[in-house]
Symmetry: C2
Subunit: 387 residues, 2 copies
């Protein structure tokens, strides 16, 4: 059975002291419902994705569902670290395919600036296995991705300038996206001149701490026919992967095995073997600039080690062969953990429907990809969407 | 497509300082894999249910999957407060029906005695909507269920003695269950003589703080045929419900609307309209004795208001018309939050396969029910199993 996306919504990303987590969720929910031309009564199931450890609501699914008008319809919260949004989409998708619901909404939301407890600090340091690397060595996220970057530079000659190019591209796109956290272009010099956070990653190599939400209304093919919805973006295939949480157990630091597993699964189902030619665009998980470069390789956009050259060639720019992160990416649009995966679906749907305004890409294949990573490759989801 | 349970496992419940959360999980996983005569290689998907706020591992899915040999196979954690175990079973079930995986494992695990942070205190007080009732009035779980009990006593004349009967039955069954937290029978006098926690609930009306884990291996009908598994318990239907997190918004205190919604859905799908006659046994969410009495009514085992008489009549005893919580229930077997929902599946499978030893019920219909509640009726799952 096919499942289609019939409505999407996304809040303004950024520091959102003006709203509670419930109100923030509703911004995306309202837009998604309006987009689908449905009301709360039409929704049978609501899946809330929220990491939740940085806001007051530690079990946020119920108050969010209640505020948004989905009381009685929300059986759970899902969490997969920074891939939580995709986990929500996955759960709504499998629920529809399995016949539990005909119309569902996936909500991803995060308030990251509300509390600063030991809990949130621990989470900041580690997406899993607290007792080992984080507790023992105090390694934080920039530290982990810095290890990836150093390894990539040592093995393939990737340069700090190539990392900076990812940031410049992200800011260039985000500057045209009114919902982005950062709406300011930067130059290579700005990026290269910013202070080191953890060598070789500098300030402009890191995604910000953002608040935000996104929502996607999904329905079965039969229900979509019944509703008479025209503009449907179909979920063609869904793949997931996971990997050890101990960096010391990883076979390699120059890529994420979870991404490779997830991509292989989803490509196989969707019949994709030349993604650059078969897809029109992609959103990838660029929590740090090196993450986007590794994603190019892990997802088969270029060969292993050539991710730096791929960004340098301009092929991932708006006018390139395979535009990547056209709305500004996690890097500049922002990365409110659980919102990210659903916001990727928002971006893909807007692009495939030709509604991306001055960020619109050319449509040829009418197929696009989302790639969402949790932790340092602890979780990964890769999904293919088509219209 | 039908999904069957082909292997179940359950750890010893209780204070488990002897194991990490990973090791605790593995106790159930090992038993479930052995029961299914499978190894880790055969499992394609692992769904971990864990509330997690009372243990060191705040994002526990990855380290648990890694320790148990499911690296690469675990895309997320699910959470639905005390109904988290059922959310894990639900997610594995919908994943199989939707064709994402043919063989999956649902793991529910909780370490509740590891940390005592402000986080765990907040959670102890509230399964949702921190900022309103808990923060404002400091209401804790016994307080919430005491309101239910008072309302039930006022409206229907339910007595403290009837509440005590639930506890006595639970302890009588748990005394014969080597995996139960409490393995000691109590008398009505013990229960009625125990100190008040929150009037009218006394010590013996409350479930304990337990550590524990449970696991269920599930597969598609086609895969089960391929494996040649004989002893399969099928998931006949799955229902869920949710309700407002504000008690002040509830229409009534004498029952849980979420349970009623979940039961209606699942009964409709399974064609059940006379549960006492059509089922052989049930597990219900007796976090407090009043919760079991309300469950009898919400699930249609008796009429509204007659739950007290139902336990008094002995119909929910081992030899009764519809034995309930044959392994001792949350009350005496223990209630390690996320383990509970999966442990209910363990109990139902053991009973339906005739492997419950000196707690075995008579099998006539070969159908049984699980009922798992999160928060004070914030979430509810009701599932029907058949052999």
């Amino acid at each position: 059975m096919r499942v289609g996306i019939i409505g999407v919504g996304c809040s303004k990303f950024g520091r959102r002291d003006d709203v509670t987590i419930q109100e923030l969720s509703y911004e995306a929910v309202k837009e998604a419902l309006d987009d689908a031309q449905l009301t709360q009564d039409d929704i049978e199931l609501s899946i809330v994705g929220c990491v939740g450890t940085r806001s007051y609501e530690l079990m946020p699914a119920v108050p969010i569902n209640e505020y948004c008008g989905f009381t009685g319809k929300g059986p759970m919260r899902v969490e997969a670290a920074c891939a939580t949004g995709s986990a929500a989409v996955y759960t709504a998708y499998t629920s529809i395919v399995s016949g539990v619901a005909d119309v569902a909404i996936a909500i991803g939301v995060e308030k990251m600036t509300e509390v600063d407890t030991p809990t949130s600090l621990a989470i900041g340091g580690r997406g899993g296995n607290y007792l080992w690397e984080f507790h023992q060595y105090g390694t934080t996220f920039p530290g982990y991705y810095a290890m990836h970057a150093s390894a990539h530079m040592a093995e393939f000659g990737t340069t700090e300038k190539q990392l900076a190019m990812v940031a410049v591209k992200a800011h260039r796109n985000a500057a045209k996206n009114p919902k982005a956290h950062f709406q300011k272009e930067i130059t290579i010099e700005d990026a290269l001149g910013s202070r080191y956070i953890t060598y070789p990653l500098k300030l402009y190599d890191c995604s910000p701490i953002s608040d935000g939400s996104a929502a996607a209304v999904m329905a079965s093919e039969e229900k979509i026919r019944e509703l008479g919805t025209d503009d449907v973006v179909w979920i063609e295939s869904v793949g997931y992967g996971s990997d050890t949480s101990n960096m010391t157990n990883r076979e390699s630091f120059v890529g994420l095995k979870a991404s490779v597993i997830a991509a292989e699964t989803t490509y196989k189902k969707a019949g994709i073997d030349r993604p650059v030619e078969q897809l029109d665009m992609a959103t990838v998980h660029d929590c740090f600039t090196i993450a986007e470069i590794m994603a190019y390789e892990d997802l088969g956009f270029c060969r292993k080690g050539e991710g730096g050259k791929f960004v340098e060639s301009g092929e991932s720019d708006l006018g390139g062969k395979l535009p990547v992160n056209t709305f500004g990416g996690l890097k500049a649009k922002g990365h409110p953990l659980a919102a990210t995966g659903v916001a990727m679906v928002y971006e893909v749907v807007k692009q495939l429907r030709g509604e991306a305004g001055n960020l619109q890409i050319d449509l040829k294949n009418y197929r696009a990809l989302t790639h969402n990573v949790g932790g340092t490759g602890h979780f990964a989801f890769v999904m293919i969407f088509g219209r």
